[in-house]
C-alpha cells in the first residue's frame, strides 16, 4: 500500500529519469530535507553536533567517496585515511597562507588537491587489481601519514606536529574554531553534503558512472566495447579522492579543530571504519553510504548509552561488550546480508508495497 506505484504515470523522459521517480520517495525526501534544514538547526545542541550529526555528515561524504571508487568502479582502496589527511593538511596550509580566503573555497580547493594526489596513487590501478591494489593503496595510507608527520613544512614547523584551525566565518557567522555555534557547523556540513551527494548521484547516472560500472563488472569486456580503462579508472580515483579530501578538510576544520596526523588519520580510525561503512551500508549504493556512516557513527554511542546510562554497567565493561558486539555484527552482516543496509531497505520497500496483503 505504502509504496504503491500504481497510477503514477510518467509522460516524459525527464520525469522517468528523475532521481526519485516515486511520489512517496519524493515526499519522504522533501520531509527529510525540511527536517534537516529547518528543524534540526533550531534544536541542535553541542552534544548532538559534535558527537553525532557532524561526524555522521563528514563520514557520509567519505563513504560516498570510497563508494565511488570501490562500490561503483570496483577498485578496492585502503588509503582513505591518507587521502583525508591530504584534504586536512591542504586546508591548513591554504588557511595559513591566505588568511582572507573564504572557507568554502579553501575546502573545495583542498578537494581538488586531494583529487590530484588521488590520480597519482591511482596510476598503479592500471596494472594491478584486487588484493594487490588494496596493498598498493595501503602503502599510500602509510606514506601520506608518514609524510605529514615527517616534513615540518606541512605543520608550519610547530613543536608538536599538531595543526590547529583558526576561526573562519560564513556570512559573518563562525563555522570553524571553538566559538562556532552548533547550528553553523552543522548547516555548513549539511549544505556541502547535500550538494555533493546530488552531484555524485547524477555523476553515477551519467556516461562516466556507467563506464565505472562497466569496468567494475568486467574490465576486459568494457575495454572491448570502447570504455578506456586509463581514463575511467583515473577519473574514479580523482572524483573519489575529491570527496574524501573534502571530508578530511571538514574533519579537521569543522569537526576536530586540532589534529595530529598519526592519531587522527590512522588506518584503524579512518580507513577501515570507512570501508566498513560502505560494506555495511551497501557497495554501489548512495543510500548505503549514508546508512553505513550512520550505523558506524551511532552504534558505539548508542551501545554506550544503552549499557552505561540505562543499564548502569561500568564504562569499561560496556567498552568490552561494545567491541564484542561490533565484531559479531560485522560477521552476522556479512553472512545474513552481504549487500548491506541498502539492500535491507529495498526489501523493506518491497514488503511495504504489498502490505497489508502479502502474497
Amino acid at each position: 500500500m505504502i509504496y504503491k506505484e500504481t497510477g503514477q504515470y510518467k509522460s516524459s523522459y525527464k520525469s522517468d529519469h528523475a532521481i526519485f521517480p516515486l511520489l512517496q520517495d519524493k515526499i519522504a525526501f522533501s520531509t527529510l530535507m525540511f527536517v534537516a534544514f529547518l528543524i534540526i538547526p533550531f534544536v541542535i545542541n553541542s552534544y548532538w553536533e559534535k558527537a553525532i550529526l557532524v561526524p555522521f555528515l563528514i563520514f557520509s561524504l567519505a563513504a560516498i567517496g570510497l563508494n565511488i571508487l570501490t562500490g561503483y568502479c570496483g577498485q578496492v582502496s585502503l588509503g582513505t585515511g591518507g587521502f583525508m589527511a591530504v584534504g586536512a593538511f591542504s586546508t591548513y596550509k591554504i588557511m595559513t597562507y591566505f588568511p582572507d580566503m573564504n572557507i568554502m573555497i579553501i575546502i573545495l580547493i583542498s578537494g581538488l588537491i586531494t583529487a590530484a594526489v588521488g590520480i597519482i596513487f591511482g596510476l598503479p590501478s592500471l596494472r594491478i587489481k584486487g588484493f594487490y591494489l588494496a596493498v598498493a593503496t595501503l602503502a599510500s595510507q602509510f606514506f601520506l601519514v608518514w609524510l605529514f608527520n615527517k616534513v615540518p613544512w606541512f605543520y608550519n614547523y610547530s613543536d608538536t606536529g599538531q595543526i590547529t584551525v583558526s576561526e573562519r566565518t560564513m556570512f559573518g557567522i563562525p563555522v570553524t574554531g571553538a566559538e562556532a555555534p552548533s547550528y553553523a557547523t552543522y548547516l555548513f556540513c549539511l549544505v556541502l553534503v547535500v550538494l555533493l551527494s546530488f552531484a555524485a548521484k547524477n555523476l553515477i547516472r551519467s556516461k562516466m558512472g556507467r563506464s565505472w560500472m562497466a569496468i567494475r563488472d568486467m574490465d576486459i569486456a568494457a575495454e572491448i566495447i570502447g570504455v578506456p580503462p586509463l581514463k575511467t579508472k583515473l577519473s574514479a580515483f580523482a572524483i573519489s579522492s575529491f570527496y574524501i579530501g573534502i571530508a578530511g578538510a571538514l574533519y579537521f576544520a569543522v569537526f576536530l579543530g586540532a589534529i595530529e596526523v598519526t592519531e587522527s588519520f590512522d588506518i584503524m580510525t579512518i580507513s577501515f571504519p570507512v570501508l566498513f561503512m560502505i560494506i555495511i551500508g551497501g557497495l554501489g549504493s548512495m543510500l548505503g553510504s549514508f546508512l553505513g556512516a550512520a550505523f558506524v557513527v551511532t552504534l558505539p554511542i548508542g551501545l554506550k548509552f544503552l549499557m552505561v546510562d540505562m543499564v548502569g554497567l561500568s564504562a569499561v565493561t560496556a567498552k568490552h561488550f561494545e567491541i564484542t558486539i561490533w565484531g559479531l555484527l560485522m560477521i552476522v552482516f556479512l553472512i545474513v546480508e552481504p549487500h548491506g543496509l541498502a539492500r535491507l531497505w529495498s526489501i523493506a520497500k518491497e514488503k511495504l508495497r504489498r502490505w497489508p496483503f502479502p502474497y
Binding site: K50, A51, D159, T160, L256, G257, A258, T262, I301, V316
Partner: protein
C-alpha cells in the same frame, strides 16, 4: 511489524538520549576520561583507580567536599581523540574539571573548554606553554611541565658528569605524536647550551615495533637515552634496551615512563632503569591508610585493587587531591559550598599546597609543595629521579626534587604561548 518496533525503539532511545543530556546534576561533578582498554590500558588502569579510590575516600571520610558529594562518572576513551570529544561533550555540563590523561585530547579540549568555560587540568602533560596563565585562562598543567622534565633529565646527566657533557651523545626515544615531540625543542636548545649531540628516534603508535630504533642505538652507542613513552611502548623499549645490554642507569624515562607495569616485563634486565617523577611511590602515607580504611576494607576498591601504591596509582591520588583541593579553595573564596565551574577555576588558580597543607591532606612528603597563581599555571617545576630495583621490585628515589633550567624553559614558554595568543587573538590577563 519488526520495522515498526524498530522505529518505535529508535524514537524512544532518541528521546531518552536527549532527556538524559538535559538532566541537571546536583553535587560536584568531576567527569573522568579514562582508558581501561586499548594499547594504553596498562598505564590507564592504575591511574584511573587512584582517582576513583581518592574520590570514594573523600565521599566516605568527609562526606564530600564541604558537604557536597563528588560525582565521578567515567567515560572510556580508549586514548582516542574523537571518543574523547564525545565524552567531553556528554559530560561538560556543570563539570568542574576535565583530566584528559592524553596529550592529544588535551590539545583538542584547550580551545573548546576555553570557549565553554570549563577547567582542564593536565597534570604534568598536555601543552607545556599552558603553564602561562596569562594566555591560558582555563588550562592548568601544574606541578611540572615536559620542558622542565627535559631540562631536569639533562641536569641529572650533567651532575653525573661533573657539569661537562660536551661531545656526549644523548638519544631521545619518543612516541611519535604531540606528546613525544614536546621535549624536542627544549633538548635542542639545551644541546646548544651544553654542547651535547642530540639523536632523535621516533616510535610510531602504539609502540610495539622498535627493532629499528634499538638497532640504531646499538650502532650509534649514545651515552644516554631519554624516553618519552606511554603504554605498551615503555615495556617494549625497556625490554629492547635490556636485550641489547644498554647500561640501564643511563636510560632515563619521563614521569610517564616509570611505573611498575613498564619495568616488570623486562625482569632483571630492567634493573637500574631510571625515570623522573613528581610524586613518591609506596603506601606509607596517611592517605593510603585512609583509603584502606574507608574504601578497600569495605570492598569498594576501584578495579581489582591490585594497583594500590604503584607509581601511577599514587599519581592518580595526587591528581585527584589537587582537583579536590581546588574545589575546597573555591568554596572558601566564594563562601558557598555549591560552586559553579567558573568559581572552580578561581579555586584552581589559588591552590596553595604548602608542606603544611599537604600534611593535613595526608600527603606528607609525598610530593613537593607547589602553588598556582594568575600568571603561573605550571606549579613548582620540581621533579626527582627514581631508580628501579629489580631485586626488591621497588622504585627508589635517588635524588632530591630539583628544578629544571628555568631560563631556557621560561623563554620557550613565553615564545610559544605568545604565538598561540596571536593566532587565537587572546589578550593577556593578570596585568
Amino acid at each position: 511489524m519488526r520495522i515498526k518496533q524498530l522505529l518505535i525503539g529508535m524514537t524512544a532511545s532518541v528521546i531518552a538520549v536527549s532527556s538524559y543530556i538535559e538532566m541537571a546534576v546536583a553535587d560536584l561533578k568531576f567527569p573522568m576520561l579514562v582508558y581501561r582498554t586499548g594499547a594504553y590500558a596498562p598505564n590507564g588502569i592504575p591511574n584511573a583507580d587512584g582517582f576513583v579510590d581518592y574520590y570514594k575516600m573523600i565521599n566516605a571520610r568527609d562526606g564530600g567536599i564541604g558537604g557536597e558529594k563528588i560525582l565521578h562518572p567515567e567515560c572510556e576513551t580508549g586514548y582516542k581523540t574523537q571518543v574523547g570529544v564525545e565524552c567531553y561533550e556528554k559530560n561538560k555540563k556543570d563539570a568542574m574539571v576535565f583530566q584528559p590523561m592524553s596529550t592529544g585530547i588535551t590539545y583538542q579540549l584547550i580551545p573548546k573548554a576555553t570557549a565553554d568555560g570549563v577547567t582542564v587540568y593536565s597534570t604534568g602533560y598536555g601543552r607545556t606553554s599552558a603553564a602561562n596563565g596569562k594566555v591560558f585562562k582555563w588550562i592548568f598543567n601544574a606541578p611540572v611541565t615536559y620542558w622542565d622534565g627535559a631540562s631536569i633529565a639533562v641536569r641529572h646527566i650533567l651532575k653525573q658528569n661533573f657539569g661537562n657533557i660536551k661531545g656526549k651523545k644523548i638519544a631521545l626515544v619518543y612516541h611519535n605524536s604531540a606528546y613525544g615531540k614536546e621535549p624536542i625543542r627544549t633538548l635542542e636548545t639545551l644541546a646548544k647550551k651544553h654542547g651535547y649531540k642530540l639523536m632523535l628516534l621516533p616510535v610510531d603508535h602504539p609502540g610495539q615495533e622498535q627493532k629499528a630504533t634499538w638497532l640504531k642505538i646499538r650502532k650509534a652507542r649514545p651515552n644516554y637515552v631519554l624516553m618519552w613513552g606511554w603504554g605498551v611502548m615503555n615495556q617494549v623499549a625497556i625490554k629492547s634496551a635490556a636485550s641489547i645490554k644498554f647500561p640501564m642507569e643511563n636510560f632515563i624515562g619521563i614521569w610517564w615512563s616509570g611505573s611498575e607495569n613498564d619495568v616488570l616485563p623486562a625482569g632483571q634486565g630492567a634493573h637500574g632503569y631510571k625515570s623522573l617523577t613528581f610524586n613518591a611511590p609506596g603506601t606509607n602515607y596517611q592517605v593510603h591508610k585512609d583509603i584502606k580504611k574507608y574504601v578497600h576494607d569495605k570492598g569498594e576498591a576501584s578495579g581489582d585493587g591490585s594497583h594500590f601504591g604503584t607509581v601511577l596509582y599514587n599519581r592518580g591520588l595526587f591528581q585527584a587531591m589537587v582537583q579536590v583541593e581546588a574545589a575546597a579553595v573555591a568554596q572558601k573564596i566564594h563562601g558557598t559550598s555549591k560552586i559553579t565551574p567558573a568559581m572552580y577555576r578561581d579555586g584552581m588558580e589559588n591552590v596553595n599546597l604548602s608542606a603544611k597543607r599537604l600534611e593535613e591532606l595526608g600527603f606528607k612528603d609525598f610530593a613537593p609543595p607547589f602553588k598556582n597563581s594568575c600568571e603561573n599555571h605550571g606549579g613548582s617545576g620540581l621533579a626527582a629521579v627514581q631508580q628501579w630495583d629489580a631485586k626488591t621490585k621497588k622504585w627508589n628515589m635517588i635524588t632530591e626534587y630539583m628544578y629544571g633550567d628555568s631560563d631556557v624553559v621560561q623563554k620557550l614558554i613565553a615564545e610559544d604561548s605568545s604565538k598561540y595568543a596571536a593566532e587565537q587573538k587572546i589578550a593577556e590577563r593578570c596585568n
